[in-house]
Amino acid sequence: MFGIGSGQRRPDQEAAYVDFVAARRARLYRAAYLLCGDAHRAEDLVQVALTKLYVAWPRVERSSGLDAYVRRSIVNASIDESRRPWRRERPSDHATLDAPAREGLTHEDSDELWAALRALAPGQRRVVVLRHYWGLSVEETATDLGISPGSVKSQTYDALARLREELSVTGKERGA
């Protein structure tokens, strides 16, 4: 039943995988969306990462690095994707951009933050998402991205400065 033809893993492994996906998928998708700004690409990134995780499950589970494995899969895939200009040009017509903001974030705030986030260079956006959405340390972020801790610090500094600037400008424009 668990042979080559079925592709299935042992029931206990499948149950653990399903539990992991059920617990993490929403956050993974949202992080992917913050990284790429596109609903379809975000779903692609998550699907690919979770499929790879299933294939590699026993090895990754033994290493106790499930979260890191999936996170790096998503980030690496987004890096590969973002370097291709012809993949970047999908229209940003996702309904979320036009949808009412949820509680705690006004529509204007949401638009401004999206615009500011999208204005960041891809590397800066990755650092911001890893550090300030996923809550990673400088060292963990450096390991995930394959860059030095110093680069993480400088990119974080630059990104936050640019975010503040963008948000300040749009805030002034709104107030004018």
Binding site: Q8, V21, Y33, I79, R83, R88, V129
Partner: protein
Amino acid sequence: MIEIDEELGRLADSVELPATTPDDDLARGRAARRTRNLAAVGASAVGVAMVVTGVAMLSGGTGDRAVEPGPAGGGTTSPSPSANASHHPRKAHHTRTSKAPADPFAPMAPAGQRVVRETLNSFHDVLTDDLDPGGTRLAPFSNLQSGGGGLGTKFDWSGGGMLEIDLQPTAPKYWSFAEPGFPLTPRHVAGARMAKAGSDPTSTTVVVVRNDGTAVQLTASSEFGNNGTSIAATGLTVEQLLAAAADPRLTLPDPVPLGEPGPGLFR
């Protein structure tokens, strides 16, 4: 920076989730594992067939014809009864044809692996000629990045980052570069109907649509690979990258093989 953390969290929470369940991911995982296993079995069967053929030839061709293998890579489509797709009728994509829709996890045939390997090696040779004549910095190809009908890969750039190439048979229809992270501005390149280039402190990207219609993207980045600190660390200029992207020796096979090449790509 608590504010940023909180605002990002609220922004992320405002993103609507797609309608999918863990069972969908489970099905994709099973399908990927199944096709990967079948690819491994198929490769093993081809290897066994080649050994059997060799033994038969060495023994004067008098071997048992009942075990005579079919064409290399063309037989062994049913390596085991359990491989029958009837257990998962929706995911029977391990027996594909050239007209089958692209499945990123379907195994690539050995012949396709060879074609891709030769193509990526040819990219390496051309880029070495154009960008690394001393042959000291550009490492062999490291992966396959396919999609959109084209082929691409990444090369480690010794001493300062990486070089990525992507060839597409035709220029994409959308070509506005609205969100590359940095602006790409038009450039003039001989032999190209269109060219653009742009940089940020760690990366330079050029895109060229040659007169034959082939679209070539090259990105040199010091941000990944060896922890470079600036694009100057790669020693590559926009002009060099544009000229390399326009090199007519960079070509795609016809047709471009589809599927997941697996480790066989590197053999």
